[in-house]
């Protein structure tokens, strides 16, 4: 027999595919939460691989804040077509119009937190019993505590002090009526793993991830796109700079990085020498020390 050793990327891929198939087998109505960022894109490709040549047995759900970069939406629609997936869009704007969510006011207003309302409403509307998310444990300190199969009570809440044990690769997706699971197949991937995988698999990305010229302004040391979704103070000057996104989320909380990286190799080099985390540029985490934990407890992604 030949001697065989999986590379760590192959091992991570295999683990993630195993978990996606486990979800398809254990749940009646799963969905894949698709944000348009690199992690969801990798998730989409993993799902395609896991079930090929059959269609991906769950729809993609995009919780749309209405404050997206145009490129994200174009890319999303093309990808869905390419992979033959079904797309469901939950609209935060609609949640605001129907009074389910209340728009924040002021200069640092963001619809990021409101997404939780729309997300939980969408899960309930379609009776989804498992939502696959592309969160990674290396992203943030509360995420570092997350199980692969994360139980949510009937209000969609996470109880980090009382998580179910999760042993070996045995996943227990049993739940009471009205409860659901969040499942994180790429928990063990790091930001570097994601980029290496994108390179290895030759996955096309939205142009936002590569360097481009854009009108931007600076606030609290973070560079934002100068678009209507973020109201600017008079003192905040708009300049044109060469930037790219390190993560992509809602416009109001996506910080841009000054960069001239125009290939995956360049991006990987940039990340290898970076001294700040990718979420260092996300204002949603900077609101308080336990901002992510609090949002997660309430049912956020």
């Amino acid at each position: 027999m030949s001697n065989y050793k999986l590379t760590h990327l192959k091992e991570l891929e295999s683990e993630s595919i195993f978990i996606m198939r486990e979800v398809a087998a254990q749940f009646e109505k799963p969905a894949l939460l698709f944000s348009g960022g690199k992690d969801s894109i990798v998730m989409a490709y993993l799902a395609y691989k896991a079930f090929y040549p059959a269609a991906i047995p769950f729809p993609f759900v995009h919780i749309d804040t209405g404050h997206n970069f145009e490129e994200t939406i174009t890319y999303r629609d093309e990808l869905v077509k390419l992979l033959g997936a079904e797309l469901i869009v939950g609209s935060v704007e609609e949640s605001i119009e129907t009074g389910r969510a209340v728009e924040e006011k002021g200069f640092s207003a963001s619809r990021n937190k409101l997404q939780t309302v729309t997300l939980l409403d969408t899960l309930e509307k379609y009776k989804f019993d498992a939502a696959l998310g592309g969160a990674r444990r290396d992203e943030e300190k509360a995420r570092a505590k997350e199980r692969f199969f994360s139980h949510r009570d009937e209000f969609g809440q996470w109880d980090p002090k009382n998580q179910r044990p999760e042993l070996w690769n045995i996943f227990n997706g049993k739940k009471q009526l009205g409860e659901h699971f969040r499942v994180f197949p790429i928990s063990n991937w790091t930001e570097m793993d994601i980029w290496q995988y994108i390179l290895q698999e030759n996955i096309p990305l939205p142009s936002l991830y590569y360097t481009h010229e854009r009108e931007v302004f600076e606030r609290d040391g973070i560079i934002y796109a100068a678009l209507d979704a973020i109201p600017r103070r008079e003192s905040e000057k708009v300049e044109v700079k060469r930037v790219r996104c390190r993560t992509i989320g809602d416009i109001t909380c996506t910080g841009l990085t000054l960069s001239s990286a125009d290939s995956l190799e360049d991006i990987i080099g940039e990340i290898a020498s970076s001294r700040v985390t990718e979420r260092g540029g996300r204002s949603d985490d900077k609101r308080s020390e336990a901002a992510m934990e609090d949002r997660k407890k309430a049912g956020y992604f």
């Binding site: 001697n3 091992e11 090929y52 570092a144 179910r164 690769n169 928990s187 020390e289």
Partner: protein, 434 residues
């Protein structure tokens, strides 16, 4: 641009921390990340601010790098496992920093269950205490291939060689009883960094490696691709499309050995025979696939196969097919094990129900002896039990195969995972204590 090509084929090592509350596990992980330059500036800044806010003054509390929950920071203890990642030019690491508090033993087991190395910390001032033994026992049950015993807080005992040697000697006796394999000792100060990444000048009497060097060089687990082949069927792929009208594939993760196109196979429990016609991975077809690859196997005959069945090579040792299973169980729930009660069982990709037939004994963690007269298995107890399942399981012993040799028990009403089971054939033959 930095050279990142080496990164593509690095080895992965998973390790977890263990030991009693406050022995310094989280501080050690923080120190390891910090001294190996794996901390980002914004993370360090956040931890500095939190340290100050929590009353630590200017001293950075490195434990906060893993103790990320609000409740953990308020109480100064770890409650649930934190996973951290870092890489050196030699290896890529997945760290599970687990809690020492007895209340959260279930979370320690969670973190340890996938580890290749366990670092067991012992506070040099307190020596080996019950919780150190419990975690060692669990490491032995889980058959973690390497155990590093880190005698910590050496700074508080003046880096005394005598203190270190006394603890080492006492632990060696325990390791012998527990039949722990490959035990390595190291004197450290997690707080100050002695022997963590850099060799300490304060322990001239210690000739061994630093902790990081050990982690970079210890052998990863035994080669699972050499085991008898096991393929638990996870999901059936049938496209229902015109292009793939007749496609019928069995998806799963290889859980022992390897499979080749052309292999004669047997499907268990039905004992139906067939032959592998294709092994697919996404839209690529492979000639051969190995543990732990996730693939889709196609067979020559249209046989009746469902999730939970196991495909094995005909020429190799088969798993035991039986409804009677003997196991060592680590109990994880406040509600005690109910002898005679029914539980849901998950084993590989199979789910069935089982009745607890017998509790043979439970373990006294302090004396490491078996208790035969008290059979109430409470939270954190370790016991030897027998169960009878509704559907027969296709199993190996845990010593033979970690995947087909392990199972979990699930409460029928609450659906909580209440027990971790390691299957044994015959206790005397196994590498266990008992």
């Amino acid at each position: 641009m930095k050279d990142t090509t080496g990164y593509l084929d690095m080895e992965l090592l998973r390790f977890s921390t263990a030991g009693s509350v406050d022995d310094g596990k989280s501080t050690l992980i923080g120190r390891l990340l910090y001294d190996s330059k794996s901390i980002f500036e914004d993370q360090l800044q956040a931890v500095k601010e939190a340290s100050k806010r929590l009353g630590g003054g200017e001293e950075v509390n490195l434990a906060l790098l893993t103790d990320g929950l609000r409740a953990e920071r308020e109480q100064g203890i770890t409650i649930d496992v934190a996973y951290r990642y870092f890489a050196t030019p030699k290896r890529k690491f997945i760290i599970a920093d687990t809690p020492g508090h007895i209340e959260y033993t279930r979370n320690m087991v969670t973190g340890a269950s996938t580890a290749d190395v366990a670092i067991i910390l012992i506070d040099a001032r307190n020596g080996i205490i019950e919780q150190s033994k419990r975690h060692s026992y669990i490491a032995s049950l889980l058959q973690i291939p390497n155990v590093i015993v880190a005698v910590n807080k050496m700074d508080l005992v003046d880096f005394s060689e005598t203190v270190y040697n006394d603890i080492k000697k006492e632990y060696e006796e325990i390791a012998a009883v527990l039949k722990l394999k490959n035990v390595i000792f190291i004197p450290i100060s997690a707080r100050d960094g002695d022997n963590v990444v850099d060799a300490s000048k304060k322990t001239p009497w210690y000739q061994g490696e630093t902790l990081l060097h050990l982690l970079e060089t210890l052998p990863v687990r035994k080669d699972e691709t050499k085991l008898p082949s096991r393929f638990p069927v996870q999901y059936i792929i049938r496209p229902h499309s015109d292009e793939f009208h007749d496609y019928r594939g069995y998806a799963g993760r290889i859980s022992g050995g390897s499979f080749k196109v052309g292999d004669e196979v047997v499907i268990l429990p039905s004992k139906t025979e067939s032959k592998i016609t294709a092994i697919d991975e996404g839209n690529k077809s492979l000639d051969e696939a190995f543990t732990p690859q996730s693939v889709t196997i196609r067979l020559a005959d249209n046989v009746d196969i469902s999730r939970g069945d196991i495909i094995v090579r005909k020429s190799e040792t088969r798993p035991t097919v039986s409804a009677n299973v003997s196991l060592l169980v680590c109990w994880l729930n406040h509600r005690p094990l109910n002898e005679g009660g029914k539980y849901i069982i998950r084993h590989a990709t199979e789910e069935t129900r089982a009745i607890i037939k017998d509790v043979h004994f439970k373990v006294n963690i302090n004396t490491l002896e078996n208790i035969l007269d008290d059979k109430t298995v409470k939270m954190n107890d370790i016991a030897h039990i027998s169960i009878k399942t509704l559907k027969p399981l296709k199993y190996d012993s845990y010593g033979e195969n970690r995947i087909t040799g392990s199972l979990v028990l699930i409460d029928e009403n609450t659906f909580e995972t209440v027990g971790a089971g390691m299957i044994v054939h015959n206790l005397e033959d196994e590498t266990y204590t008992i």
